[in-house]
């Protein structure tokens, strides 16, 4: 049997990933250099010789292609450069301080969204017209009509301020992460439930399912082996773009729940005009998104027996 994913496809897809990443980094680098005013234009005008020294220390006096090469070289070694505002830190230190929190929050939210979404979706797909089914139709617009910037503060108001079930902010214990995870996961679980439901309803009618049913397969085997893998394909392809918006959503959630993740550094950096920090966060986020999309594409092929990825 031929391998499911041809090595040529794998290479082409990988190359595409690298091109995307390179585009992002170049774009970001170009934008930062195009910006009016230097990074040291503060409230106080620096004496010219000190500014010249500073520029030299950060290699801003070099020609642009040399700066670009230096930045790319640094990136290859995993070095995002110094922070322009927080003089004692480089961007790597700041990002690695926030990364465990942001990554943990993101994964927990994605997992929660999948569990809730697929669970409700299955219930609705197999029992059309029941409570779960109607719940999904009602939650139809949830993902776009109830934005995190409204839902997250309301959750703080209801569950932390009024009911006092959960702490309102901070990151000291696991309890501090429950509300943020749910706030972040909610819109995605609605979308996933909808996709799962539609997928199941469509797959139930497929000939291969009828054939399996005619062979006398047990209900549970029918569902787990023949219906779900097909029905979940749209969910898998949804996860790629979802991961991107999930990361941006986590910026808000970290802000509202006072979690010291990357998103917080991003907003702080943006407010202080800390170019290198903002740039570093965009690069890290982009790399995460692009890699995740790559994995999702491969998982897609793994699930659907009809897909054989060759280019």
């Amino acid at each position: 049997m031929k391998p499911k994913i041809s090595s040529r496809y794998l290479l082409a897809r990988f190359a595409f990933m690298l091109v995307t990443l390179l585009t992002i980094i170049t774009l970001v680098f170009g934008l930062v250099r195009l910006a009016p005013g230097g990074p040291f234009d503060g409230e106080r005008r620096l004496p010219p010789d000190i500014e010249a020294n500073l520029r030299a220390a950060y290699h801003l006096d070099e020609p642009i292609y040399q700066q670009y090469a230096r930045y790319m070289g640094g990136l290859l070694q995993g070095d995002l450069g110094p922070s322009f505002r927080q003089k004692d830190f480089d961007v790597n230190e700041l990002i690695s301080a926030g990364l465990p929190i942001s990554a943990g929050l993101g994964f927990a939210a994605l997992l929660t969204a999948l569990l809730i979404g697929v669970g409700i979706g299955i219930a609705a797909g197999f029992h059309q017209g029941t409570f779960a089914d109607r719940l999904i139709m009602a939650a139809n617009n949830l993902n776009i009509a109830l934005p995190t910037i409204v839902v997250a503060p309301l959750m703080v108001l209801v569950f932390s301020v009024l009911l006092r079930w959960f702490p309102a902010g901070g990151s000291d214990s696991i309890w501090h992460f429950i509300l943020p995870t749910i706030a972040l996961a909610l819109p995605y679980s609605a979308a996933i439930a909808r996709l799962t439901r539609a997928g199941i309803i469509a797959t139930k009618l497929e000939p291969h399912v009828k054939a399996a049913m005619a062979k006398g397969l047990s209900q549970s085997r029918l569902i787990s082996r023949h219906i779900l893998p097909m029905a979940l394909l749209p969910v898998v392809s949804f996860l790629g773009p979802a991961a991107a918006t999930l990361l941006t959503g986590s910026v808000v959630v970290e802000q509202v729940f006072d979690l010291p993740g990357i998103g917080r550094y991003f907003v702080q950096g943006a407010l202080n005009r800390d170019y290198t920090l903002v740039m570093g966060v965009v690069v890290v986020y982009s790399a995460a998104i692009v890699t995740f999309n790559f994995i999702v594409d491969l998982a897609y092929a793994g699930l659907d027996p009809r897909i054989r990825l060759s280019h």
């Binding site: 930062v32 910006a35 617009n141 009509a145 409204v150 703080v156 469509a202 907003v267 986020y285």
Partner: protein, 287 residues
């Protein structure tokens, strides 16, 4: 996926859908009219300070309450509606201006040009765009026009794909061949024959772009990186409300309700329009 849902629910839900369409049109109408005339009818100006009523809940004098410094929240929410809705329209327009010709030319020209143009769209699709918009705002200052342009520059991608798909389905049509044989050049064909024939999907998609832009703008403003004081938008008001949620929840709730309602209405309308379009889709050009 939408079609799948539609197939199963449409027959008995038809009346209900029409009602939700009517409700969303009515609500959107009310919000837009209120945004236009509301501030003029009120006794307060958006920057007026009521020294007797600082951080007070809803009352007869201030139907939405007042904020920390005693400014009337009803007027400010309406001014915020003006900002948010205007940004949404301008950014949607910007996305139309970029996306429609892009998709139409790619679809019509086909071949290499199409491949390169759509590959560019694919690459851009992978970018965390909101973060890039924030980066732009950081670099070039908090200029509202820049914000419009940057938001428009995000949302043209989907539009380009949709227009290209539609163009592909009509590029072989006889009337296009006819005008080509009469000597019309590419620009004329795209502008006079292709774009007018794909306006349906464009309008549908534009309706769905509006809420996405409103959402993106409120997101950026919420973080303090978008619209700035003394000007205001729903995102700014919600951010203020979040900061004072324990002492004055109304500061969050009223702008929040308006934002949610607007998003829901735009979204419902867009969905209905695209359902409707699916019904009449079988166009005479499907050869």
């Amino acid at each position: 996926m939408q079609q799948l849902d539609g197939q199963i629910t449409r027959p008995n839900d038809k009346r209900k859908m029409r009602r939700s369409t009517r409700v969303s049109i009515a609500l959107l109408g009310i919000i837009i009219v209120a945004a236009i005339i509301g501030p003029e009818l009120s006794n307060w100006q958006p920057e007026d300070i009521d020294w007797e009523a600082m951080e007070q809940g809803p009352s007869l004098a201030h139907p939405f309450g007042t904020d920390l410094v005693g400014r009337d929240l009803f007027v400010r929410t309406m001014i915020g509606a003006r900002t948010s809705i205007t940004i949404a329209f301008i950014a949607t327009l910007a996305s139309l201006i970029i996306g429609v010709p892009w998709g139409a030319f790619a679809g019509y020209l086909g071949g290499r040009v199409d491949q390169v143009m759509m590959r560019i769209v694919d690459v851009l699709y992978g970018l965390p765009f909101i973060l890039l918009v924030i980066l732009l705002v950081v670099l070039f200052g908090r200029n509202p026009y820049l914000l419009f342009a940057a938001l428009g520059a995000i949302f043209w991608l989907d539009l380009a794909r949709i227009v290209r798909g539609q163009t592909l389905s009509i590029r072989q049509a006889l009337f296009i061949e006819a005008s080509r044989s009469l000597g019309a050049h590419t620009g004329q064909i795209v502008w006079r024959h292709i774009i007018p024939n794909v306006t349906g999907p464009i309008i549908v998609y534009a309706t769905l772009t509006l809420p996405s832009v409103i959402l993106a703008e409120s997101f950026i403003s919420f973080l303090g990186l978008g619209v700035q004081e003394p000007n205001t938008s729903w995102g700014v008001l919600i951010a203020d409300g979040t900061a004072t949620i324990e002492s004055s929840p109304w500061m969050l709730i009223f702008p929040g309700i308006l934002l949610v309602t607007t998003l829901w209405c735009c979204n419902t309308l867009g969905d209905r329009l695209s359902d409707h379009r699916d019904d009449i889709q079988r166009s005479p050009f499907d050869l």
